[in-house]
Amino acid sequence: MAPRVVVIGLASDFGCQVQMTNIEDHLLDVLGLIDLRYWQLASSGHLPDSYDVAIIEGAVTTDEHVALLERVRETAGVVIAIGACAFTGGIPALAALGEIDRHCAVVYGDTPPVAGVTRRTPGPVGSVIAVDYHVPGCPIDTDEFVRVLHRALQGLSDRPPQDPLCAVCKTMENVCFLERGQVCLGLVTRTGCGARCVTLGRPCTGCRGLSPEANLPAAAGVLESRGLDGAELVRLFDLYNAAREAVR
């Protein structure tokens, strides 16, 4: 029997779910392997009471998200967090850098709406429940998503790439941004993206999260040795990783 799969979106821009619909060439193959029971973006219906695999996109920004995730964890045998929001808190976690009440006042003034949700400091899915598989990146790469889904369906271990991006980027003969006097986060960011941004002429902005092999003080030293501001490393890394203290 094909595993029953649900797709759940928390606080996000739906970009990773859009990337899932961009599987196109593999879509029908993937659909043949799974029994898709719930995907609000694509189909009418409700989250069922019972399923095997939960694919979760988005950051945790409300108490309602926490309650939903706790229920998901009790129900699903396998939980897959996809995208920077779910993995590291991503862009939504930038709001963690300030007081939520202050953000609320900036956006809504004195009369915030009462639309049935209780806000909390944003964080990744892993700050609330245990996650079995991760697909990093903002947005996810569709091929990497299909690979991780296959690993999950086969019960293989979660194995996101570990090295910092520089290790791969160097082999691609890209001109190093540090040599051009620009801060690039490839020094500390988890690889696996094929250095797409650097290859296209833009420095790495750290969307795949901190590499377990990264050495932040050493990386800041490398920037300083190129005459750059070492503090920029952490300031820029906050873009997608402001909630990193909250990661279990």
Partner: protein, 420 residues
């Protein structure tokens, strides 16, 4: 009194709930709660450097990310006094049109079409109408490939920088793309004909319709804001003077008004205001469908999106060929960082999108303001629901709910955009 609740309306982007109170066969109240939690983008950009703004605001929406990126770049450039090259403008138009192909194909076939053939989703449609699903995937895929060709990937463009592009595609890819887009126009024409066969309720919105217009172009990248009812045109820099945003208790998204009333933005207002500037094949299809000049029926937004698909194919093929001939550079133009405020506006697939930022002497953002198409549409959508629901309240309950949901989907709302 009985209350009908449709939680998490399906096949729209984001989380919203419709509540209808019916008493003795009369609709007492109807509203759409936006339960999508607020995302604080306008506050999160404060304190970030000017060149990070497009990276952040692109993440407002996974479907129209090229629009958010390009619109925020234009606002930042306005603040810094930067004029980009003609070549950069053409590349940005292609990037934006990539999101039109993606968005319209997804909305029409994945979100809207199942309603008209009585199915819960597009997946069973793959078995009953494989050729239709194939067409949808073909158009959407080319949209993805276009945003990838110009921006580096389907979602969240990499190459679009303040002042220009980090890199651009080679001539051969552009040539090949122009040919494919010309061929795709036929598929887009079939889409328009298909959606024209779907019967929609005869309903007219009371709201005004707003869109960007330009004298010599179907305005997407730049133009002035025009009103259909008021017959006025105003510079986008004055948007705060003509669009008013208010916090509404039941919605995390603000509602917008113009001259005190709700209004509509999107494909239908664009076609209403710029039908004479559509590319030839798109204009021909519109004529073939019996277009009478102006439509106030929001359900016609679907057909207008399909006509825009034809327009996008023709126009993008032209832009790709133009890039091959025009020369010039898309490298970021040199500029100095300085304090200032600026506004940018583009037509996103779902309607006019405004971004505005203030920047300090060191290039850090001190204030941000974003008005998304859906935030503008929500007030009008609710007004339409209030006017439309009583006309179909005698239908069986399932059919009644479906019709109200269809109205919501016709607006192609993006609720995650609306609560940016």
């Amino acid at each position: 009194m009985s209350t009908i609740t449709v939680e998490h309306v399906a096949r729209i982007e984001g989380h919203g709930t419709i509540t209808v109170d019916v008493e003795g066969g009369v609709v007492r109240d109807i509203k759409m709660d936006i339960i999508e939690p607020a995302r604080f983008f306008e506050s999160m950009v404060v304190g970030r450097r000017f060149d990070e703004v497009s990276l952040i605001t692109s993440r407002i929406c996974g479907i129209c990310s090229p629009n958010h990126a390009v619109t925020s770049l234009r606002a930042v450039e306005d603040a810094l006094g930067i004029e980009v090259s003609e070549r950069t403008k053409v590349l940005r138009k292609l990037l934006v049109y990539g999101s039109y192909l993606q968005n319209h194909a997804t909305h029409l076939y994945v979100f809207a079409a199942p309603d008209f053939v009585g199915l819960p989703s597009v997946f069973p449609l793959a078995e009953t109408h494989p050729e239709v699903v194939q067409r949808a995937l073909t158009i959407k895929k080319i949209g993805n490939e276009l945003t990838t060709l110009i921006g580096g990937r389907p979602v969240h463009p990499i190459t679009a920088l303040v002042g220009g592009f980090a890199s651009e595609p080679d001539a051969r890819s552009l040539e090949e793309f122009a040919e494919r887009l010309t061929r795709l126009a036929g598929e887009a024409e079939e889409t328009a004909r298909l959606f024209a066969t779907f019967e929609v309720p005869a309903f007219e919105t009371a709201g005004d319709m707003l869109a960007l217009v330009a004298d010599d172009d179907y305005a997407i990248y730049e133009g002035e804001t025009a009103s259909l009812q008021g017959a006025w045109r105003r510079p986008v820099a004055e948007y705060r003077d003509f669009i008013r945003e208010d916090v509404v208790g039941h919605s995390n998204a603000k509602h917008s008004t113009v001259a005190g009333s709700p209004f509509m933005v999107g494909a239908l207002p664009r076609v209403n205001l710029s039908a004479d500037r559509l590319a030839p094949r798109a204009a021909a299809v519109l004529g073939e469908l019996g277009w009478s000049g102006v439509s106030r029926n929001p359900f016609m937004n679907n057909v207008c999106q399909a006509v825009e698909l034809v327009d996008a194919c023709e126009r993008c093929a032209g832009y790709a060929r133009q890039l091959l001939e025009m020369g010039g550079s898309s490298e970021p133009v040199p500029f100095a960082v300085r304090a200032g405020s600026g506004v940018g506006a583009t037509e996103a697939p779902r309607g006019t999108l405004y971004h505005a930022y203030s920047i300090d002497d060191d290039g850090f953002v001190t204030a941000g303001d974003v008005i998304t198409p859906t935030a503008q549409n929500l007030g009008n959508l609710e007004a339409d629901m209030r006017a439309f629901a009583p006309t179909v309240v005698d239908e069986p309950r399932d059919r009644f709910v479906l019709l109200v949901e269809q109205l919501v989907r016709a607006y192609d709302p993006c609720l995650s955009c609306s609560v940016h």
